[in-house]
């Protein structure tokens, strides 16, 4: 048997061995280890299909050793591609990629309301009317009738227990207008009167502005009552709305604006607070100032290490800690951002100080200037513009972080977002998305413009 064949046989049993013995040690070792790794992962996660790849590599290995023995070296691109394909396939499986789980209807259900962000609404005027009803009946119930500004509403009978059918009449409302009819218990909570008591009961008024309908005293009317046998006055409400031209901020829109303001100010406060601490710390963390003697050098090392550790903790995680300490709300988020920013700014500032040009300092000292004058004329002009630029940049970053920090209870627009997602208000969610995008784009632009002027 030729030498060539013996190497091929060896590689057939132990991939890479033939190559190794032919003097291609790294190649042989690489093939062997690569083959082992792929076989191992295939065994671990394997679907039968993935065994194709170890087999392909094994086959290539034979071809390779055959070539090597004949004195020609093949490119290793092919086995690398096989290995990559195997890794990718297994990765696919590990990540549980399953596109069949993406349901178009669900996506549509979420995305359709998002096309109409709940931010503004047409300005409307309301026409509200109500009439008292006693539940349950007392011995002498007063008439369930009420007049107000030309509108008259009556209920018959005048009172009734839970589930009682009542005839409701109202006149003097706006004609030919859709009217919401709902119940209000004595503590002011609205209860639905429509289908299944979860839908709003609506009806059009006639040409005269009158409306007649039949309702049932809601099953939940007495849920909040301390003593369900005690007669109390509930109300039947009629509510009409009509556009009066123009638009106004919707309730959610208002919340979005408040949240946006809270987020931007949270970032602003955090940045301001961070600057107060970062400026002095940065001087302690500047190598060129602190390497003079062992004591200052020790301080330098401590401060720098602290800043590095603090910087490596994501502000989101610091926020979770602060939410526990100071409770939900923007204050917790602000503290978290501030702490993270102290570390980040301290590091950036100290690098500015380290990069300062000693030439002007020497020149100003040579003019007979005193220490303060040297700082004012040679140091400050060198550090203020980059300090300011870094601070603005940090504020910009903090605004982005602040939106995310809200998600863990740190207040601001992120908090609003998570609440809206929880109640499945996708129109509100969409308004928040737009607001975040606008904030980020606008601040990005402002911060870039400001920094441009400083450099």
């Amino acid at each position: 048997m030729s030498k060539q064949m013996s190497n091929v046989v060896m590689s057939a049993f132990v991939p890479g061995l033939g190559q190794f013995l032919l003097g291609e040690r790294y190649r042989g070792l690489g093939i062997f280890l690569g083959f082992l790794a792929i076989v191992a992962t295939t065994l671990w996660y394997g679907q039968p299909l993935w065994y194709l790849f170890p087999f392909l590599i094994w086959a290539w290995n034979l071809w390779d050793v055959f070539g090597l023995a004949a004195g020609q070296k093949h490119s290793v691109l092919l086995p690398l591609a096989f290995g990559l394909a195997a890794a990718y396939g297994i990765g696919w499986q590990v990540v549980e990629i399953d596109f069949s789980r993406a349901k178009v209807e669900r996506a549509v259900a979420i995305l359709r309301p998002m096309l109409q962000p709940d931010f503004i609404q047409p300005r409307r005027e309301l026409n509200q009317m109500w009439v008292p009803v006693e539940v349950p009946c007392s011995s002498q119930p007063p008439a369930a009738r009420r007049e107000d500004a030309g509108r008259v509403a009556t209920v018959t009978p005048d009172c009734g227990p839970v589930g009682e059918t009542l005839l409701v009449k109202v006149t003097g409302l706006w004609p030919k207008t859709e009217t919401n009819i709902f119940w209000q218990n004595p503590i002011g909570n609205p209860l639905m009167l429509g289908e299944g008591e979860i839908r709003m009961l609506t009806q059009m008024t006639d040409e005269e502005g009158a409306l007649t309908t039949v309702i049932r005293v809601p099953t939940t009317a007495l849920v909040a009552a301390p003593d369900p046998t005690l007669p109390q006055f509930h109300r039947v409400y009629f509510e009409q709305a009509r556009p009066i031209g123009g638009y106004e901020l919707s309730f959610i829109g208002n919340e979005v604006l408040k949240g946006a303001l809270a987020t931007v100010s949270m970032a602003l406060m955090a940045t301001g607070l961070a600057v107060l601490f970062a400026v002095p710390l940065s001087f302690l963390a500047a190598r060129n100032l602190m390497s003079g003697n062992p004591v200052t050098y020790a301080i330098y090392l401590v401060v720098r290490t602290l800043l590095n550790i603090l910087r490596s903790i994501e502000s989101l995680i610091i926020a979770i800690v602060f939410v526990v300490i100071v409770g939900l709300g923007p204050f917790a988020g602000m503290l978290a951002l501030a702490l993270h920013s102290i570390a980040a700014l301290g590091k950036l500032y100290s690098e500015v100080i380290e990069g300062i040009d000693p030439g002007p300092i020497e020149a100003i000292r040579a003019t007979g200037a005193n220490w303060l004058q040297v700082v004012r004329y040679a140091v400050i002009p060198q550090i203020i513009p980059p300090f300011t630029a870094f601070t603005i940049y940090r504020w910009d970053i903090n605004v982005r972080s602040a939106t995310v920090i809200g998600l863990v209870g740190g207040g601001g627009i992120g908090f609003l977002l998570i609440e809206l997602i929880r109640v499945n208000n996708m129109r509100g969610v969409s308004a928040v998305f737009i607001a975040i995008a606008v904030i980020v784009i606008v601040l990005d632009y402002i911060s870039a413009k400001l920094r441009e002027r400083l450099v």
């Binding site: 030439g359 020149a363 000292r365 040579a366 003019t367 007979g368 005193n370 004058q373 004012r376």
Partner: protein, 253 residues
């Protein structure tokens, strides 16, 4: 009269930059210091206004011992000694005018100067100084917007603001091309003719011949020559610059 007496400087890392250097500089001289890179020229110039503290020796100027001066006295002495640097050492982000005005800091009110407020006469003097070096129109440009030659002229204007009796110039033209070198040195020569003593370190021998009234040469921190430029013959040249050295000319104008 400036007397350098037995001045030595040893840096904290042990480098002996100056070894027992002594010489006198008479008022009105244009003294040029020559020597190889690392021979101690910059160290010597900085010892004179104590930007670097000499380890040993005395520097006496008009009977005042600079080396013994208190910090306050030292600032008073420094403000009459202008300094010009190879790298210009301007505050790059500040305006040319502010850079020139800062030459006045030793005289200015310490508090108002911190606020950046300058008396009218200082501003007028600064504009005059800029006019003198021919760049008055650049007064409000940022210093780093100027060319090297223009920056060095700002450096000279800054020194002029000190109404100096002495100007120390540390390789003022080493970063400039030959034509500019002459124009800068001519400003210094002009000031020297008006009575300001100039001590200047230079690299190119032809510039030394053209401007120096007297020459001091350093080699490894030791003074190896003192005399007029004409006295530097081939043998002296080899002694100062070493056997392999070849004379390089800046330019023959």
């Amino acid at each position: 009269m400036l007397r350098i007496q037995n001045v030595s400087k040893t840096y904290p890392n042990g480098t002996q930059a100056l070894k027992n250097v002594s010489f006198d500089v008479a008022d009105g001289e244009f003294l040029v210091i020559i020597g190889l890179s690392g021979s101690g020229k910059s160290t010597l110039l900085r010892c004179i206004n104590r930007l670097i503290e000499p380890t040993e020796g005395k520097i006496i100027w008009d009977d005042v011992d600079i080396t013994a001066a208190s910090p306050a006295e030292l600032r008073k002495i420094r403000r009459t000694i202008g300094m010009v640097f190879q790298q210009f050492n301007l505050v790059k982000r500040s305006s040319v005018l502010t850079n020139v005005l800062s030459g006045r800091l030793g005289y200015a009110n310490p508090w108002t100067s911190l606020l950046g407020i300058w008396p009218q006469e200082d501003i007028a003097q600064a504009m005059q100084a800029l006019e003198r070096v021919g760049i008055a129109e650049k007064a409000h440009s940022r210093a780093d917007a100027l060319s090297g030659g223009q920056q060095q002229r700002v450096g000279i204007a800054r020194a002029l603001m000190q109404n100096p009796k002495l100007i120390l110039a540390d390789e003022p033209v080493a970063s400039l091309d030959p034509v500019l070198s002459h124009s800068i040195l001519q400003y210094l020569e002009q000031l020297n003719k008006e009575g300001i003593t100039v001590i200047c370190s230079l690299h190119f021998l032809d510039l030394v011949h053209r401007y120096a009234t007297r020459v001091v040469a350093l080699k490894d921190g030791v003074k190896v020559f003192e005399g007029s430029a004409k006295e530097i013959d081939r043998a002296k040249f080899k002694e100062i610059y070493g056997e392999e050295a070849q004379e390089v000319r800046a330019a023959s104008l």
